[in-house]
């Protein structure tokens, strides 16, 4: 995983509430597809018209948002399906940080697993941020994870909260499996004890005549 420390780039507003992971990436693109080449398919139902041409009305097809690194979204962003491809598609497009009032729980987790930073901010704060960008959308926004600060145009500084463990993992680009395997003895001890207490959890295979 690539470490996430600071990010500076164009921030695109896409404020519709309840944007689901089906719309972020269509399921067909995840069958046999390479996770690293999903960028062109991010939001494809909105980005392209039925004839395959770009829809100029869609925000990510317009300058300067075609180069967006940050997405400012509405409530419950990434709700629905658990598909991690939604994060891969955003990453492929170049978006490495999403700012929203709330997120789908599974999507929120999936972001941290891939070095993408989801930031929760109150809706009025988000509206202020969007308003401050409206005059000059090409002005970059900076996100500094080390200080948990967003530097918006007009020198506004917005602080955000992020779980300390997740923050540390993002800053260092740490792989979660590697860290968990350090607890292997504790896992073995748990299972040994649990096997005695709840044998039915572990004995399923011996009963399998299904």
């Amino acid at each position: 995983m690539e470490p996430f420390t600071t990010l500076t780039g164009i921030a695109a507003p896409l404020l519709r509430p309840n944007i689901d992971t089906d719309i972020i990436i269509r399921i067909e693109r995840l069958i046999g597809g390479d996770p690293k080449s999903l960028g062109p398919y991010a939001f494809e139902s909105w980005r392209y018209r039925p004839d395959g041409s770009e829809d100029p009305d869609f925000v990510l097809n317009r300058e300067p948002f075609r180069r967006a690194r940050i997405l400012i979204a509405g409530e419950n962003f990434g709700c629905g399906s658990s598909r991690e491809g939604a994060v891969w598609a955003l990453q492929g497009f170049g978006i490495l940080c999403i700012i929203a009032p709330s997120f789908g729980d599974i999507f929120f987790n999936n972001c941290f697993q891939n070095g993408v930073l989801p930031i929760r901010l109150e809706r009025p704060t988000i509206e202020r941020l969007v308003a401050s960008l409206a005059g000059d959308p090409a002005r970059p926004v900076s996100v500094d994870l080390r200080q948990s600060l967003i530097l918006a145009p007009l020198n506004e500084r917005l602080s955000f909260a992020v779980d300390p463990g997740r923050r540390a993992a993002l800053l260092q680009g740490l792989d979660e499996i590697g860290r968990t395997l350090r607890h292997d003895q504790a896992i073995a001890a748990f299972q040994a004890r649990d096997r005695a207490e709840r044998p039915w959890v572990y004995a399923a295979e011996t009963r399998s005549e299904a």
Binding site: R16, P17, S81, E84, I177, E197, A210
Partner: protein, 468 residues
């Protein structure tokens, strides 16, 4: 010390270690794999050089990418064939119990977990699919995970989790005749919205939940993720234990009593506190149908399509207008009577035997309207065999429905089975998202009874008018 909730008890008993930052390393009792996310997970495990920690706690089925066409096999949908092949090969090589196509035990992952007794009260259950919450109906912590967490479970049989807050939702009262669990949960989501459960583990309680059979409880828990909650659960009771007794993978013989004793200790203590509470009176609920592109966009079957102009919030107003435009509907018009092209009865929400019986009871009363293509896709091989033994397949066929092979089918359209652009489908599944059933597809979520009634009428129809 104050009492603990059902959720707290299961959570506490699965903590392997507390990590530096307050997150818990949680033991996972059941890891269910399917062709779409499971085959990728097993492939990635090999590529990254990790060992599979507990094959005996891992089970696999084929459901997402397989064709549901009568007489299908693994290659009927060519795009899905490599996924199924990978799953077959990897599960055989690693000693994972695999329920292959056509075998007893195969079916939609959230249907087979409970029906085989793989998933049991008090367990932690995960799967690379957000509707894993269905299985919380057994009194378990069951939730969907993404590809990275899936790999984490394969390699460590644990997950790093932050404890969610706890919400209790009470369904109280007695539903009117013809009201199904699907109507109850859609009405709730319509009331609270799809973000209400974000950050919570939801426990459903109340007299109307106690009165439900296990299948109905699974339908309720299935839509937890559509309420925003990745975990939905119901305390186990005699209904639960009766359902599980004799299931192939449930404990039996001398093993049953100790398990039962442990399960009886699971329900929350009387003085347990929740972080949030909500309640809904089921007596006031009518059959629900969705009009928009979010599961919260529902109205009573005899209601009217809402008008965005009446919505004060600008973002919400724009979303409603976009949804109506996509759905090809007019604000203020009645929803019932809207002509339809397709009906899909199936999915992990509503494909169990009780769902098929309810749909068949309506199907007996008429024929599918000429313009409509109506499918019945049983949730599992077991459901299919049971339905056929009862003659439900003949009822459906005689009425002009297609009787198909088990799988996810048009719920997700990952197997190429799609609603054509612009076509309108009444569906018993759980998501009406833009393009969910295929690009440009217009989905109306409803109960099996409403879907069957609509198939006969050729229009969105009130099942209470057809019954009796």
């Amino acid at each position: 010390m104050t009492g603990r909730t059902l959720f707290d008890k299961i959570w506490d008993s699965h903590v392997v270690a507390m990590l530096e930052d307050g997150a818990a390393l949680l033991h996972i009792d059941r890891h269910l794999l399917h062709d779409l996310s499971g085959s990728r997970g097993l492939r990635d495990l090999a590529a990254k050089g990790y060992a599979l920690r507990n094959p005996e706690l891992t089970f696999a089925t084929v459901d997402h990418a397989v064709s549901s066409a009568p007489g299908r096999d693994a290659v009927t949908n060519p795009a899905g064939a490599p996924l199924i092949e990978t799953l077959r090969r990897e599960t055989a090589a690693r000693g994972i119990r695999f329920f292959d196509l056509g075998e007893d035990g195969n079916g939609i992952v959230h249907v087979i977990g409970p029906e085989l007794g793989l998933s049991l009260p008090g367990m932690t259950i995960v799967c690379g699919d957000s509707h894993t919450c269905t299985q919380g109906a057994l009194g378990a912590i069951a939730f969907g995970i993404g590809a990275s967490e899936l790999l984490h479970v394969l390699a460590t049989q644990t997950l790093v989790q932050r404890k969610p807050k706890r919400m209790r939702i009470r369904f109280e009262g007695k539903p009117a005749a013809g009201i199904t669990p699907k109507d109850m949960i859609l009405a709730l989501i319509g009331r609270l919205g799809t973000a209400a459960g974000g950050g919570y583990a939801v426990e459903y309680a109340g007299s109307a939940i106690r009165a439900l059979d296990m299948e109905g409880r699974m339908t309720i828990c299935n839509l937890s993720i559509e309420l925003g909650a990745k975990i939905g659960m119901i305390a186990p009771d005699e209904t639960t234990f009766h359902y599980l007794a004799g299931r192939p993978f449930a404990p039996r013989g001398a093993g049953w009593e100790p398990a039962l004793a442990a399960w009886r200790r699971l329900p929350g203590d009387d003085d347990a506190a929740f972080d949030a509470e909500a309640a809904i009176d089921v007596a006031a609920i009518a059959p629900q149908v969705s009009w928009g592109t979010s599961p919260q966009d529902v109205v009573a079957i005899d209601g009217r399509i809402p008008d965005p102009a009446a919505e004060p919030d600008a973002a919400r107003r724009a979303a409603m207008a976009a949804a109506l435009d996509y759905m090809g509907l007019r604000p203020g018009a009645p929803l019932a009577g809207t002509p339809i092209d397709r009906v899909f009865i199936g999915s992990c929400t509503n494909s169990r035997i009780g769902d098929l019986r309810a749909a068949a009871a309506i199907a007996r009363r008429g024929r599918v309207a000429p313009r409509v293509t109506a499918w019945v896709v049983p949730g599992s091989e077991r459901v299919k065999r049971e339905a056929e033994a009862e003659g439900l397949d003949r009822v459906f066929r005689a009425a002009g429905f297609e009787w198909r092979e088990p799988g996810c089918s048009m719920c997700l359209a990952a197997n190429g089975e799609r609603v054509a652009p612009g076509q309108r489908c009444v569906s018993t599944s759980n998501r009406n998202f833009v393009g969910r059933q295929g690009p440009g597809a217009r989905t109306h979520l409803a109960s099996p009874a409403t879907a069957a009634a609509s198939a006969l009428a050729g229009r969105i129809a009130d099942p209470r008018r057809i019954a009796g």
